[in-house]
């Protein structure tokens, strides 16, 4: 073994031992992904289900009971009956229910006379997004019931436009399938930037960096020796997340596995480069942690499109997202998992990450020299 390789090997072994002995590294790499995936996979959902809905029927008869039954059977609603519109409105104001379906006493007569929609809908517009969803679901359920009712009556329904919709890539519109791949990017950012920034800063703080510097070890060997173990650790966390995504949450992987690994490796390197840069600049664990949180973790969470749609952000915020590496990786992940290898998407985003990697590596090399000043 040449002296150079032996030094590199010495660094890799030392870092690996430190990772194995430090419970926080292991937990960030393996416990954190599990917690985040379980939380987002089971706990957080962007879909509206079991919406508490108030139903007011002023004159119960066959038709109105049949409509109410349609809402009862729907998985989207959890209806409650109210005797009068006034009490229902109080419940709406107190947020016990999110919407009201009001069937007035002329409901049946208008229904049979000309089928012009005789229902009233109230929704709570405080959470506008949820209000839209609620309103849409109520209308959808009403139209479906109406068609069904018309057919049973042997009449045809004359609607001005009959809409036929088809959802691609996530036919069940299950937000879990969309969240879980994005989470992998968040987890890899944590391991790459947050953990790496802290452990390298720790060397500065404890004075071991000084001892390392006054040896034949070259800066490049030191950086490589640090990168390799954390790269392996990060990819381990990534594999764990992918396994959970596929086998626990049933997310389909519609692309070749090697392509997913290649893109992940590229993103891992970008993350590690950010972590190294932060630690070199701050040289202090606390500061490194804070900076990593603010420049790497939070942007990945908020601005990557993992949770919040980039296109609905204001233009200037959209501009900022272009410097968030997770943005590109989230786009790749969501495409690779749910849509398959759509090459233009993969290549454009991978190209952006490669460019970032080159810039960051240049910065790390420029900033890291064997001097303390």
């Amino acid at each position: 073994m040449s002296a150079r390789l032996r030094r590199l090997w010495g660094m890799i072994r030392k870092e690996s031992l430190q990772i194995l002995r430090d419970p926080s590294s292991i937990s960030i790499a393996f416990v954190m992904p599990v917690v985040l995936l379980l939380l987002f996979g089971y706990g957080v959902s962007l879909d509206a289900k079991r919406i508490p809905l108030g139903i007011v029927i002023e004159q119960p008869d066959t038709a109105s009971q049949s409509l109410a039954g349609a809402f009862d059977r729907s998985e989207f609603f959890r209806p409650q009956r109210f005797d009068a519109i006034q009490t229902a409105q109080v419940a709406l104001a107190e947020r016990r229910i999110d919407g009201i379906l009001w069937l007035r006493n002329d409901f049946s007569s208008r229904l049979f006379s000309g089928l012009d929609a005789p229902i009233g809908i109230f929704v709570n517009g405080v959470d506008s997004n949820r209000a839209n969803i609620t309103q849409g679901y109520i209308q959808g359920t009403w139209l479906a019931w109406l068609q069904h009712f018309a057919a049973a009556q042997g009449r045809s329904l004359d609607l001005p436009v009959a809409m036929e919709q088809r959802v691609w890539f996530n036919p069940a519109l299950n937000s879990r399938l969309f969240l879980v791949p994005g989470l992998i990017a968040i987890i890899m950012t944590m391991i790459g930037s947050l953990l790496t920034a802290m452990v390298v800063a720790r060397e500065w703080e404890r004075g071991t960096m000084e001892a390392l510097m006054v040896t034949p070890l070259h800066m490049g060997e030191m950086l490589t020796g640090k990168l390799i173990p954390y790269f392996v650790l990060g990819m381990g966390g990534m594999l764990l997340s992918v396994a959970m995504a596929l086998f626990l949450f049933g997310v389909p992987l519609l692309s070749p596995f090697w392509l997913l690994m290649a893109c992940s490796a590229l993103f891992m390197l970008v993350s590690l480069a950010i972590g190294l840069l932060i630690s070199i600049v701050t040289r202090n664990q606390f500061l490194a942690g804070q900076v990593a949180l603010v420049v790497s973790f939070l942007p990945s969470f908020l601005l990557s499109g993992f949770l919040f749609d980039i296109h609905s952000m204001p233009e200037w915020v959209q501009t900022i997202t272009y410097v968030v590496p997770a943005r590109y990786f989230v786009a790749i992940l969501q495409t690779l998992f749910l849509a398959g290898p759509v090459w233009p998407v993969v290549l454009v985003n991978a190209g952006a990450m490669l460019f970032m990697l080159v810039v960051l590596t240049a910065l790390v090399v420029k900033k890291s020299y064997k001097r303390l000043d």
Binding site: G10, Q18, G207
Partner: protein
């Protein structure tokens, strides 16, 4: 210089800029370190020792000047220098979560030690450092002295031609210090190694072949330790007198004509005179009978103080402290019985007992990790005890913690005042924290500023104070409520000998005013200032008594006049022998 030097500086200047203003850390430094010798870089904290070491390793680029290391240019070829020298930074540069063996393996890999030579070198170093039984232990679990030796072993793996050691002995127990010196000299003899070693302990200068004396970024001198001491030859005397306490004797002598420095040393006072020649008892101490004056051998510290005191004004003599302590008498004010403190499995303080009488200066002496600070925190009510009894000023700390705390002043080990507040604001804050208001508060703040000479720094933010003044401010803050008991935790760590003298003069004055003082220190010679002390190691008390009693135990035919350090070393050795006997009988 005909002989090629191992390390040379030529007109080196180093400037650090922080927050807009530049700080000159080193200026006009020029020297050469001869090969095959041990050169000591001596100076107090803030003198620029670490900066100089880092420059020599190529870790810093000087603002100006030339540095050559083993014939290499450290300014332009730092990597070549770093590959050639052995270096142990402060805190030893060890990975605490790696075992002893793993640390050695790492540095062997980094230094390119061939695989086939390793086993022999490891065995040799482990034997030399006494670490052979501990190779599987994590470095973080080693004692301070063992860490220091492991750090040294890592730096010595490849037997470098130049070894640079930055404060290897600070805070380490005297036995380990002595062993370190033995290892260093062994390497110089066997390998012809050159060594540059920095230290803040002035007494270590005498162990070096050659000394560089650094103070406030400037080189005060270079030479053999004896050359320095020769300057004060014939000016050093030991004075004792009956019918006067040694503290009052010291106060009188420090104000006597012709005296440059007066220092309590056991029951006598050590004098450095301005000019050679034995002073007359009548002129030194008029009105006192039975004054004995005898010449003493000069030490390095005498020379250091003599050089600096001629540069500074002789520290203004301190008058009596205007302090109102109500309680009088000499009853026991602090009682500690079988005090115990556990942190998990680790026993930091193990059945410690002692008692302190009113008006005493009582010392807790020991290396870092001996349990001094933990004991202190329990006495101040900052940390609950795991077991045992302790009472302060008549209040049991298990039951009346807040009550006891009102009687004590505490000066923490690290500077713990508010850096962003001015001197006056800090004092005002501490006064109000102790419940002083209105005119009373104004009076106390004025008293503190006056007594501690802080008038010039009134509006200066505490962070920007010189080190010695920071210490004065901490001291003043601890005295705002006129406590009858004062706890001082490592008060003199890192301050230069002059500031240290001033500090002890104040402490003496406090004791004279009736304040009970409890002080921890790892400077062995400071034990001499105490009335009584305990020596602690690994959480237990090894001995209790007056400084004279302690030293008397170590007296032997070979060593008729032992120092406190000798006494300490003897106690540790006795304990280790007893431990081994215990093991033998158990086996």
């Amino acid at each position: 210089m005909t002989e090629q030097s191992a390390l040379s500086f030529h007109n080196v200047r180093q400037v650090f800029s922080s927050g807009g203003h530049a700080l000159c850390a080193l200026d006009g430094i020029g020297f050469a370190v001869a090969p095959g010798r041990v050169t000591g870089l001596i100076g107090p904290d803030g003198a620029g020792k670490t900066t100089l070491m880092r420059l020599a390793c190529g870790l810093l680029r000087p603002a100006q000047g030339e540095i050559r290391v083993l014939g290499l240019d450290a300014v332009n070829e730092p990597q070549a220098v770093q590959s050639a020298v052995g270096y142990m930074p402060q805190r030893f540069g060890l990975y605490e979560d790696l075992s002893v063996q793993e640390n050695l393996d790492l540095y062997a890999d980094l230094q390119g030690l061939p695989k086939d030579g390793r086993a022999a070198r490891y065995a040799e170093l482990m034997h030399m450092t006494g670490l052979a039984p501990f190779t599987a232990r994590l470095a973080g679990r080693l004692s301070g002295g063992m860490k220091q030796k492991l750090g040294l072993a890592c730096a010595l793996l490849r037997a470098p031609r130049l070894l640079l050691l930055d404060e290897p002995t600070v805070g380490v127990d005297p036995v380990s210090r002595r062993e370190l010196w033995a290892i260093v000299y062994g390497q110089v003899r066997e390998q012809g190694m050159s060594v540059l070693l920095s230290t803040a302990y002035l007494d270590e200068a005498e162990r070096c072949d050659d000394v560089l004396l650094l103070h406030q970024g400037r080189l005060l001198g270079q030479g053999a330790p004896a050359d320095f001491s020769a300057e004060v030859e014939g000016r050093i005397f030991q004075v004792s007198a009956s019918g006067i306490s040694h503290r009052r004797l010291q106060t009188r002598l420090s104000q006597a004509p012709g005296v440059l420095d007066a220092l309590v040393e056991g029951e006598t006072v050590r004098l450095v005179m301005q000019a050679p020649g034995e002073p007359a008892a009548a002129s030194l101490l008029p009105g006192l009978d039975e004054v004995r004056i005898r010449p003493a051998a000069p030490r390095f510290e005498d020379a250091f103080v003599a050089r600096l005191k001629t540069r500074h004004d002789a520290a203004a003599a301190l008058g009596a402290l205007d302090l109102h302590i109500d309680a009088r008498g000499d009853e026991e004010v602090i009682r500690v019985r079988k005090l115990l403190r556990r942190f998990g499995d680790f026993i930091a303080v193990n059945e410690v007992s002692f008692s302190v009488r009113r008006g005493e200066i009582f010392g807790l002496l020991g290396a870092n990790g001996a349990g001094k600070t933990t004991t202190f925190r329990m006495l101040c009510g900052l940390l609950p005890a795991s077991g045992g009894e302790l009472s302060v000023a008549g209040h049991d700390l298990h039951t009346a913690r807040a009550e006891a705390r009102r009687h004590i002043g505490y000066m923490a080990q690290k500077f713990s005042l508010y850096g962003d507040l001015s001197v006056a604001q800090n004092l005002r804050f501490f006064a109000s924290a102790y419940g002083l208001r209105g005119r009373r508060q104004d009076q106390r703040v004025a008293w503190a500023i006056d007594t501690f000479g802080l008038a010039d720094y009134r509006q200066t933010n505490a962070r920007d104070l010189p080190l010695g003044f920071k210490q004065r401010l901490s001291f003043a803050a601890a005295l705002m409520h006129e406590p009858e008991i004062l706890f001082l935790d490592e008060p003199t760590s890192g301050v230069d000998p002059l500031a240290r003298r001033e500090f002890w003069a104040r402490t003496n004055a406090l004791a004279e005013a009736g304040v009970t003082v409890l002080v921890t220190t790892h400077f062995m010679e400071e034990a001499n200032y105490c009335d009584r002390l305990v020596i602690m190691a690994e959480g237990t008390v090894l001995a209790e008594g007056t400084p004279r009693e302690m030293k008397a135990r170590a007296r032997s035919a070979d060593n008729p006049d032992p120092t406190m350090e000798d006494a300490f070393i003897q106690l540790i050795e006795q304990r280790e022998q007893a431990g081994e006997k215990g093991k033998e009988t158990a086996a």
